[in-house]
């Protein structure tokens, strides 16, 4: 399920993209797989969904809501974050996704009365392109994205009960021969800067050479810092996934343990992560995945080379 929020011109009914917005576009119409607030008929059984937040700018915190009983809790299973399974299934009340983040979830509709409905609801309050306020709205007061209708007949369900799964995927160990680099994401007079510098058309101004991992135990530790006063950025380095070591000095939350490729960088946060550069040499970008920030040069380039450099602040 691809989640998106769009703006339509009320006079023409056509999709409208605000070409003059540099902060982040928030739509007032909520789409799943290109349809506005669709419904989906389900059998009373478990379903596995892959969720993707396609933005362009909104952060999501998705809950399951029963419109007839707003105080009821509807936990479900989260089994992956971005491109990888978690160490074990997590029973969750909600799943958070910044733009470009993915999650696999398992929802069990067999527990619901036949004929009932359940909404996917985004309850994260966001008022402008800077990022969400981080306030969770009461059930029923958020954005209703999709309605499940449990109206199809019972069928055999041969899928494993996530509650019985104790192990999915181990977290790779951190490399030992490391290069450490820091990246500070700033806003300067409305322009996006990384380590105080702006991107140029050849991507030469903010650039470094990452060392290819040839022995299997070489890697890099990167620090992402956001002091940009109220802005949040989903930071997405290309080519290799990473493992978050700490957020503000603390271990990451359980849904973020494992390999990821988008790091949601909140207000006044510092993220420490490691990554290895395997397989291919070449040029790759790192960018903010708020599409408006990305379009306006919140980006750098790194080249994976046999030797690389040790520049701590590219």
């Amino acid at each position: 399920m691809m989640f998106a929020d769009k703006v339509f011109d009320p006079r023409t009914g056509l999709l409208f993209f605000d070409l003059f917005n540099l902060d982040g576009i928030l739509g007032d119409k909520f789409l799943v797989n290109g349809k506005i607030q669709p419904f989906f008929q389900v059998h009373p059984r478990r379903y596995r969904f892959r969720w993707l937040n396609t933005g362009p700018s909104r952060f999501l915190e998705l809950f399951l809501t029963d419109p007839n009983n707003l105080s009821a809790h509807h936990p479900f299973w989260q089994i992956s974050h971005d491109g990888n399974l978690l160490p074990r299934p997590l029973l969750v009340e909600s799943v958070g996704m910044a733009v470009a983040e993915r999650s696999d979830v398992i929802i069990d509709f067999s527990q619901l009365p036949p004929g009932s409905s359940l909404f996917i609801e985004n309850r994260l309050e966001q008022k402008d392109g800077r990022g969400p306020t981080n306030r969770i709205l009461p059930a029923g007061q958020g954005n209703l994205l999709l309605r499940f209708d449990v109206v199809l007949p019972p069928v055999a369900d041969n899928s494993a009960d996530p509650a019985t799964i104790t192990h999915l995927l181990d977290v790779p160990a951190a490399p030992q021969n490391i290069v450490t680099r820091g990246f500070r994401f700033d806003r300067q007079n409305g322009m996006w800067a990384i380590n105080g510098r702006l991107m140029d058309d050849d991507c030469e101004t903010i650039r470094f050479r990452a060392r290819q991992n040839t022995t299997g135990n070489e890697g890099e530790i990167w620090t992402f810092v956001n002091k940009s006063g109220g802005w949040q950025h989903p930071i997405h380095p290309h080519f290799e996934e990473f493992v978050i070591l700490t957020r503000n000095g603390q271990p990451p939350p359980s849904f973020e343990v494992g390999r990821d490729d988008v790091a949601r960088l909140n207000f006044n946060e510092e993220i420490l992560l490691f990554r290895r550069h395997r397989d291919f040499l070449g040029r790759y970008p790192l960018h903010c995945h708020n599409v408006l920030h990305e379009d306006h040069a919140m980006m750098l380039r790194f080249d994976i080379e046999p030797v690389g450099d040790t520049n701590p602040t590219p």
Binding site: F17, L19, F20, D202, D295
Partner: protein, 209 residues
Amino acid sequence: MTRISRRAFLATYGMAPVAGALLARRWSNATVSAREVIRERYFPNVVLRTHENKKVRFYDDLIKNKIVTINFMYAHCEGVCPRITSNLVKVQKLLVPRVGRDIFMYSITLKPEQDTPRALKQYARMHGTGPGWLFLTGNPGDIELLRRKLGFTDPDPAVDRDKGNHIGNVRYGNEALQLWGACPGLATAKSIAKSISWVDWPKGEASGS
């Protein structure tokens, strides 16, 4: 769920500014053209005064049927303005001889009370700007309207009030083709010129390189 149609797929992925404008055009079957929507939304036809003390209308005289760059500045700015202006001087040189012919550059003052046409003329002379680049002042209410319509605002009201912290981006666009974008005014001159070339379609001559 049903299969998504090509149109819905494109709508979902039509995120780049250029793609958005093209989509709006291709499938437009309404009476209001996409070009009209863009004009109404972003280009109030306010009266401005150039540094040559000439009266101009923003849309009719400066935007319509032109390739343009737009930035905001003020003459006594001690922040980013001097660097951005000297950067744009280099951009103008890269785009010779087209500036003044089909590409036009506009710098609008954020302090119309201080920046009279005469003060702006002095500023233009000091920076050695060439023909085809206008410095613009006007009624403070009109200037503020333009600033808001053109998206040179910060969502944080405290930051937005601080003129020393004003937005340093350069907007560029091709009015007839409805292609609009923006880039940092402190990017390299070559980079800004290349950005402008993205809306210089189909000629592709604006890169200057």
